[in-house]
């Protein structure tokens, strides 16, 4: 069914086996066997106004959950405000998938190295969520399912994300191929007032924020000790093809250097 309003969508999502359906790039791949996936009903949420749009709100930028990777990749305002996000949206998947895949979808996906989600983590985004009880609440982005958290209620709808200025930010990924590859390693860095914030993906089961690597970078080190501690303390990535740590450090260094340049340019 197509939900024509937020209220209609939330009412539908209370039904067992009902799932929100937007781009379908994740959901429609999993829906095949209803017995296995538990999905019995698709609720088309693409008409929900509250989840659309990209806009500046005071010092922040609000990005609707229905905004696609292609929308972000082509958006000049996002490019200036948070280049890491545009880089992630441009480098993720392939053209026809980017035209459908949404920000909201990337925050609930089971893909282990979700590119847009990783950039949003470094950008310290918050996410606004409507619960099926009718509440609207704001959570830190790290509490989204893609990061392995179940803090959001079982039945909910992401409406939008909010980011504050991230002009000094960058995103880099490496995969098996130059394009259309899941990240075997991805780094997003944001620098603000000389302080780094780093998100890493592809190396562990879920993307995560590394305070240790960020501190090391701010101290002028390469972060290898912090990185090794992070990897040792987290569930490993499911794919058995670990990237050499030297390559990961190079990726971190490149993303950090790019963020530094952009940060300097922004305050010039």
């Amino acid at each position: 069914m197509r939900a024509d309003s937020l209220e209609e969508a939330l009412a539908a999502l209370r039904r067992p086996g009902a799932r929100p359906y937007a781009g379908g790039t994740d959901l429609l791949v999993r829906v095949g066997d209803a017995a296995e996936s538990g999905i019995r009903e698709l609720v088309d949420i693409k008409a929900i106004r509250e989840a659309t749009g990209i806009e500046r709100v005071n010092g922040s930028m609000r990005i609707g959950a229905l905004v696609t990777a292609a929308n972000i990749a082509g958006d000049e305002a996002v490019l200036g405000f948070a280049p890491a996000l545009v880089e992630a949206a441009t480098q993720t998947s392939a053209p026809l998938l980017r035209a459908r895949g949404t920000v909201g979808g990337n925050l609930v996906t089971r893909q282990p190295a979700a590119d847009i989600a990783t950039a949003l983590l470094a950008l310290e985004a918050t996410v606004r969520v409507a619960t099926t009880d009718g509440d609207i609440r704001r959570f830190p982005i790290a509490e989204c399912p893609v990061f392995g958290s179940d803090a959001l209620e079982p039945a909910f709808l992401i409406l939008d994300v909010a980011i504050s200025s991230g002009e000094g930010s960058s995103f880099r990924k490496i995969g098996a191929r130059r394009a259309f590859s899941r990240a075997r390693a991805a780094v997003a860095v944001r620098i603000r007032r000389g302080e780094s914030r780093v998100a890493l993906a592809g190396l562990t089961r879920h993307p995560f924020e590394s305070a240790g690597v960020a501190s090391a970078l701010d101290a002028g080190a390469n972060g290898i000790d912090a990185l090794e501690r992070d990897l040792a303390s987290r569930p490993p990535a499911a794919a058995p093809d670990p990237v050499a740590i030297g390559l990961v450090l190079e990726l971190i260094r490149d993303a950090h250097a790019s963020a530094v340049r952009r940060s300097a340019g922004a305050s010039a």
């Binding site: 698709l42 088309d44 026809l96």
Partner: protein, 156 residues
Amino acid sequence: MNSDQSTSFRLNGQDVRFDGPAATRVLDALRDRFGLTGTKDGCSAGECGACAILVDGAPVLSCLLLVGEIEGRDVSTIETREDRRVESMRQAFLEEGALQCGFCTPGMIVAASRIPAGATEEEIRTRLVGNLCRCTGYASIVRAVQRAHRGEGGSP
């Protein structure tokens, strides 16, 4: 989207109606109900591009699209004779011999038909990353796109 209903849309220039669940994949509706088997199911996961069609002139993966979403829309498949760009791309692929088994070809032609003329080789390849070909190695495909762009694709 689990209830039977009726969806009306335009298919290759004709007004048609699909009677059946709105949650039916467009790919399945095209092949099984309308007998348009040019569009292929290569992966059912949006990862190969063989199912690409045009909806309101834009390329879309039909394995990740449900019939309920194309109500009132203009749908074109590889079988269309109504789209000048698909026609000239199809002709260019034939002249260049840009296929072997032909399985990826319908989706490839549809996707390629939307690459703007003047695209560099790099841009052509970038636009087609989502269309996988196991046979040609892509070189002849790139040449076909360039041929179409040069206007040597012949007339529809």
